[in-house]
């Protein structure tokens, strides 16, 4: 058990190392991606270029540059932005993380509740008009780009109908910390979270419906009915138990990549100062330390989530814990 844990940890560190080398390579070692020219600005004289190069350490060999970058990012945590004239990057990411986490928590709550309800109802009433309606809506939600949906939501709730009773409660765009006002926090996040969750509801409901219907054809379900179990018990207790593996793994991956900054478009549209928006800013200005920090932050979450999913898998299906696969 302890050895497995250690092996897992080693794997995670190795993956993180690989990602950091890759990102560093893309931005620093690719021909044409000369960070000195970016920082010095357009039309800088060779003297200025040389000064910047030595000030930022770009005249050193690449491995040394990489090591210094990592040291500043993880050990001394005083890596500073190239663009914002010395603003430290790590505190910036740490300040943005709670915003993203709040948004994604709300969104995942919505998408789990709604997709479970819709997926189960559609599976039980398969091929009825209810099922077709929900699956049609789901496809629609799946195919609406989140930035477009977000703009429409803003248009409706912030300007067109803001003064009607329906939307007068909607606060202006932006974020309210939980510690400042829990109610304001919830209100500021409700619409962004719903917008973000729409596509996931569509996807997850479809996945759950398909998995549930496949599970219901299994012998074990026939056994459950032969035992005298009622339909609710057969569907929810036996059916879900057999079918939620792929749902859970999908959830783990999506949750991690959203917390890692995948909610970028939603954050930009709703002006939420989260990690996604920070990444967006970094990319806009090609602020390499900032990009480095946000990408590493995202990678940590994805790698962590993977480990957690593997653990949950073993809990849900004892056969996996013993290295056996297949039903």
């Amino acid at each position: 058990m302890l050895r497995m844990l250690a092996a897992r940890l080693g794997q995670m560190v190795f993956v993180l190392f690989g990602i950091s080398v890759l990102v560093f390579g893309v931005f620093f070692a690719t021909p044409g991606a000369d960070p000195t020219a970016r920082i010095a600005g357009r039309g800088a004289s060779p003297e200025v270029m040389a000064r910047v190069r030595s000030a930022y350490g770009f005249d050193r060999p690449l491995p040394v540059q990489y090591a210094r970058m990592m040291e500043k990012l993880f050990v001394s945590r005083d890596l500073t932005s190239f663009v914002d004239h010395g603003a430290p990057v790590v505190p910036e990411v740490m300040a943005a993380a709670p915003v993203t986490l709040s948004l994604v928590l709300w969104a995942s709550l919505f998408w789990v509740v709604f997709s479970l309800a819709i997926g189960i109802v559609s599976a039980v009433l398969r091929d009825s008009w209810v099922d077709r309606f929900f699956m049609g809506i789901g496809l629609l939600g799946l195919s609406m780009p989140v930035f477009w949906l977000g703009e429409v939501v803003n248009l409706v709730t912030q300007s067109r109908f803001h003064d009607t009773w329906l939307f007068s409660w909607v606060p202006p765009l932006g974020y309210v910390p939980f510690s400042e006002s829990p109610l304001g926090w919830a209100r500021a996040l409700l619409l962004p979270a719903l917008t973000l969750s729409v596509a996931f509801i569509g996807l997850y409901a479809r996945v759950l419906r398909a998995e549930l219907l496949a599970a219901m054809g299994e012998d074990a379900i026939r056994t459950a009915r032969a035992k005298g179990a009622g339909p609710a018990r057969v569907w929810l207790w036996h059916g879900l138990r057999l079918s939620w593996l792929s749902y859970v793994s999908l959830f783990g991956m999506d949750f991690a990549q959203l917390v890692g900054g995948g909610a970028l478009l939603t954050e930009v549209v709703f002006a939420l100062p989260g990690v996604g928006r920070l990444t967006y800013q970094g990319l806009n200005t090609l602020d390499l330390p900032l990009i480095m920090a946000t990408v590493m932050y995202a990678a940590v979450f994805v790698v962590l989530a993977n480990a957690v999913i593997d653990g949950v898998y073993a809990l849900l299906d004892p056969r996996i814990a013993e290295g056996r696969h297949g039903r």
């Binding site: 074990a220 459950a224 032969a226 035992k227 005298g228 849900l316 004892p318 056996r324």
Partner: protein, 316 residues
Amino acid sequence: MDAETLLSIEDLRLALPDGRVLLDGVSLSLARGEALGVVGESGSGKSLTAMTVMGLLPDVRSSGAVRFRARDLLMQDARAWRRLRGKEIAMIFQDPMTAFLPVRRVGAQIDEQIRLHEKLSRREARARTVRLLGEMGVPDPAAAAERFPHQLSGGLRQRAMIAMALSCAPALLIADEPTTALDVTVQAQILVLLTRLRETGAGLMLITHDMGVVAQACTHVAVLYAGVVVERGPVRAVLDAPLHPYTRALLAAMPPLDGPRPAHLPAIAGQPPAPDARPPGCVFAPRCPQVRPDCAIRPPVVRMGEQEVVCVLYAS
């Protein structure tokens, strides 16, 4: 129908919604303490008959009557079915690996059935589960109850399945090919278990394609061909003097127990009819070595001593 009769199926017919015929006149009866073997090749309707008795077939049209303890099962509502299943009629399935839910412990699954039908605490249900597993010959039953299905051997899984089926002391036990997925030695042990169970007064309906299993474990036999019971009667009578040409062909296709082994076993030429291309008369006529012109009309049921046979050879 006398008081001892547990289950009687009268002229049961099943058809798919599109009109294809699955069962076309199945009549069976089973008394307390009897074991009825239902024999036939794949697709003959053995399992369908069992599923009908359990009420587990959703989209079929049925006619005829299935009487269990003087109740017509085909007429009852879903709630009555649910009370019946698992409590009065229990079923054992062919493959105990897939029949258990793979992600829950065996004991928990047996407890569940007990608690679905009886008001018992978790602890009381588990005590009964462990006792049943022990009676079924599972070594260290308390530990076995804490295992997942894939952690038990095939024989132990089937024993656990039987323990689950017996957990509410059903009056009728339906076993759908209970030994097909098992080793030969384990097969014999499971058959002994099932035979012992019959001695407690329950009825057993054993579905199989193996005449050897019938000879070993049953008191009565019904031979099914293409959804029709072609012959039925006590096992000894049917095995000693098979009347229907299909029964004879089936028995001839079994290797003899003693004497020299023949180089070739006789096989029945042809294929059973598809549900949408059934012959109008006797269903076996296209493959029958003794086919006659009057086979084109459905032959009546003829009683010959203890046996019943559906064949023109015996119509007077």
